[in-house]
Symmetry: C2
Subunit: 215 residues, 2 copies
């Protein structure tokens, strides 16, 4: 059955949050490209699909009735309404992944993180990425050259709101070097996979070990 | 004062336990050689110094009165009597290291681990190293060629007692490859250093960040 030297373990939910510009998107992309056994969580949304988006890749696009039904049945690990559109994370695919020993990566904000923590504390590993300074965060947003000055000002205000929630998280990384921040996130993932509390196959493994006739 | 991008943190106690032959000594040695900011804990003992031993390096050699006084004053994080000799870990140098943000490495068994867990749960990261099989553990003890067959048989019996205590530990690593096991221990150390609960300087760091006048 299972590889004896790799006792079965329950998967975990790896949550990465940070203000816009602190490096979360790059870290998320790099992790999901480099890491095996790590699924990127796909949200459902009621908003219309944009031409560049693929259903089932960027979001699962569902109608309002389906969304409301998921909510009523408590089948969303977290959800939010933004500009009249519903967004949420269905519980079932995540639960299936965890049971199969696969990890799931979430790129969400502190509100979603708090909701998931309330529903599944033991399965969650929540990481917050901080910028080294607000000046550096601003420079990154300016260098990115995606936003008008007033949009950058708004992003900095939102960043302050997000940063103020750092204490919700299990781990806090100050991203003053993207490579080092990536290694930190990876070390957290490697370590959390080794937690005894997730090693659902370890009792059997040890039992087999102790039953070995060797002297 | 402190490097602003490196908020002060409280150190941690890294405990490595394993049955004899499972790789603990090699891992401990490699860690304390390669890792900066990780002190190897030095026990006190009442037993006589052997010619090859250096006071303050292998042990601190103290007399029975001094040992009993440490015990009575609850100044030992853990202690044991073995063949009429006292062994123990003084609390004070460890507490000083943790306060200064330095980590301390312990190579102790499950009994010592349990005592330290009772006294300082929040500061402890306890790792248990398992052999992939008892047959492999036996081969390693035989290859090591240090012990007579009856000693090896006794070590295997002791190993079974130790292994049965795996669930005391925070992390469990099956050592089927020493390099991989080392990387696992290192990832745990890196991750645990990033825990929000140890980041005693993070609240100040975030406050400074939020006070920055940037828009």
């Amino acid at each position: 059955m299972a590889d004896l030297a790799r006792p079965a373990r329950r998967g975990l939910m790896l949550i990465l949050s940070s203000p816009s510009g602190a490096g979360k998107s790059t870290l998320t992309r790099t992790l999901s490209q480099k890491e095996t056994n790590l699924d990127l969580s796909i949200s459902v949304t009621t908003r219309g699909k944009r031409p560049s988006e693929i259903d089932g890749v960027h979001y699962r696009f569902i109608d309002r009735d389906a969304f409301d039904l998921l909510r009523q049945r408590d089948e969303l690990l977290e959800w939010a309404e933004v500009h009249g559109n519903g967004y949420g994370t269905p519980r079932k695919p995540v639960e299936e992944a965890l049971k199969a020993g696969r990890d799931v990566l979430f790129d969400i904000d502190y509100q979603g993180t708090q909701q998931i923590l309330e529903k599944a504390r033991e399965d969650v590993v929540a990481i917050f990425i901080l910028p080294p300074s607000m000046a550096e965060l601003r420079s990154r947003l300016v260098r990115r050259a995606e936003d008008a000055p007033e949009v950058i000002a708004r992003r900095l205000d939102n960043a302050r709101d997000e940063i103020a929630r750092w204490s919700v998280y299990d781990y806090v990384i100050v991203n003053d070097d993207l490579g080092a921040a990536y290694e930190s996130v990876r070390a957290i993932l490697v370590a959390e996979r080794l937690k005894r509390s997730r090693a659902v196959g370890m009792a059997d493994f040890v039992e087999t070990l102790l039953a070995e006739k060797v002297s």
